[in-house]
Amino acid sequence: MEQVWTALFTIVLGIFAAISWFWGANFCLDRLLPARTGDPAQNARNIHRAGLIRPWLFLGPAILALGLYLVYPVWESLFLSFHGKAGQEFVGTANYRWLLADAGFRESIFNNFLWLLVVPAASTFLGLLAAALTDRIAWGNIAKSLIFMPMAISFVGAAVIWKFVYDYRSGDDAQIGILNALVTWAGGDPQAWIALPFWNNFFLMAILVWIQTGFAMVILSAALRGIPEETIEAAVLDGANGIQIFFRIMVPQIWGTIAVVWTTITITVLKVFDIVLAMTNGQWKSNVLANLMFDWMFRGGGDFGRGAAIAIVIMALVTPIMIWNIRNARAEMEGR
């Protein structure tokens, strides 16, 4: 109970501190540079100066937090990746050379590329399919809601749900996992799915696809609805059938949105950690970069140099998308 009070107290304190900063800083600024003095020239000068300072009062806390929690760590990680275990001695490129030679790293990056190939493609495709189908039926919104629901479930919760689906009992015991029950029913041999090297990657990916399809569906469904009616009507007049209209007329008009969905899921994939930790913890050749990095951070006393080097690799993989996003955002702002 005590921590509940601490939490409540801190919320109140935090809000109070934030409000008093924003309000207090504004108040001080208005006092120091008053807009109403006897001298009109002085007034204009004060308003101008206050206008120069005020944005930074509004932005201050945000810039401070972003700087400390996101910008500085990028440089610090880069710095640490050239240093030893505890970050003290300079080791040059030793950590990166170690990465290239390490079997665990090669396995992880191979798996990560598999994930990058499969998960965004599968989620986007299934999301597009679900969006197109649910938009055509009366109970589509309920269906959407249910397909979207896994989005609210944590990766760990999803891992428990799916571990139960993949559950395997040896010998003649009745299979209680639905996948093995279906396989047995169809006359096949039950398998310990998550312990099958290589193929287990796909069983883990299925979990993320299951979560992300709803996201893709929601965004693509909105995009499909935004397509101008005339283009579809024209196609109908020209005698196109439903499938032709969908792939030749509708999909080409929402390429931009498809790309956004694809890249957003790609970013999620690169950061995926919880699913692998909870399902296999990287055993049976299913490791990925984020889990490998967590390993090097903590297990066996921790090696910050190697951990940071792995983080830099993840960052490097994200960077092209980052640049693409920034360019798009700038283009959009200039168009506005």
Binding site: V4, T6, A7, I11, G14, I15, A18, N26, G51, P55, P61, A65, L66, Y69, L70, V71, V74, S77, L80, G87, L129, T134, I137, G140, A143, I147, F148, M149, A152, I153, S154, V156, V160, I161, K163, F164, V165, D173, Q175, I176, G177, A181, W210, V218, V261, T263, T264, I267, F273, D274, A290, F294, M297, F304, A311, M315, V318, I326, N328, R336
Partner: protein, 376 residues
Amino acid sequence: MANNPYRWAVHLSVVLFVVLWTLPTFGLFVTSFRDKDQIAVSGWWTALGSATRNDMFRAPEGEGEVEEAGRFTLTGSVFVGTSGHVTAFGISSKAPDAFAAGETADLGDGESLTVAEDGSFTLSGPESFKDKRGQRIFFTATTPPSFTFDNYRAVLFAEGLGRSFLNSATVAIPSTVIPILIAAFAAYALSWMQFPGRALLIAAIVGLLVVPLQMSLIPLLRIYNAAGQAMGFDPKSYIGIWLAHTGFGLPLAIYLLRNYMVGLPKEIMESARVDGATDFQIFTRIVLPLSFPALASFAIFQFLWTWNDLLVALVFLGPQDDKLVLTGRLVNLLGSRGGDWEILAASAFVSIAVPILVFFALQKYLVRGLLAGSVK
């Protein structure tokens, strides 16, 4: 376009989608209410209808027998702590269903056995059943679906889930509230104030949206440890994780809110300025109330993300038992109670319950936020 087979195909495909997307969750949900002995021997889908099970009961060795006219009779029930309907019984493992319920089985030496449909059996013979091994009774019984809250009781009070629930709430709520306030001011400045470097800052925010969390972990852990040592406090504290979540949530918060605020009508702002309102007044009296939908969207995002997060909690709160959040507890249980599905299923649903409720109650805002938040 609306020809019949085509419509049927659409309906069927959507049904298939919905089944695939809900069945895994539903299966675990059903399991969380089942008896743990039943979970281990039969699939959850059998729990919905009457289940048929084969079992064996060993009659007591003469306790409670009654002598009457030279015959000894022993009665009782084959159901111990359960209930159901016996459909068949037998006296050897080779033919466990040799007799239908109500029939009489001849055991030799003048002994006989009857098992009624309700599970009561009558064993009778010319000699006392004392000093003999208890008679084995094999039976097939159907049991009606039965569900229990025992698993939830067990995880909430014995497995520490209750404590973790509080911890998760302690992490998630301030981590949702603090960034909103900071981001709202920043978003206002970025959308309605003129200053040099504004475009650059907006570009930086868009860039920071995708910086992987992994980059920040090691440097921040070092700062926290150093600060903790220098000032003599525990580096793994709630305040630490609140600030961390604030930092990580800010880019999305600012981005979402700015996109929304930029779209507010310019005229309101200008007329307020003409009336002599300052930026601070415009922000608190006009922009903030108008931005409620965007604030709600971000709040839901951030709440779901902080409640469901594992990585940040593991790194900045640590894995000690008293500070474990729900996701961390669940991972621990997966390791220590790997096969105990009654514990895992109930624990999973304790951790999923709050986000699912938030999701269904506030889905409208979530969807709106998603649409505004994906970089166009």
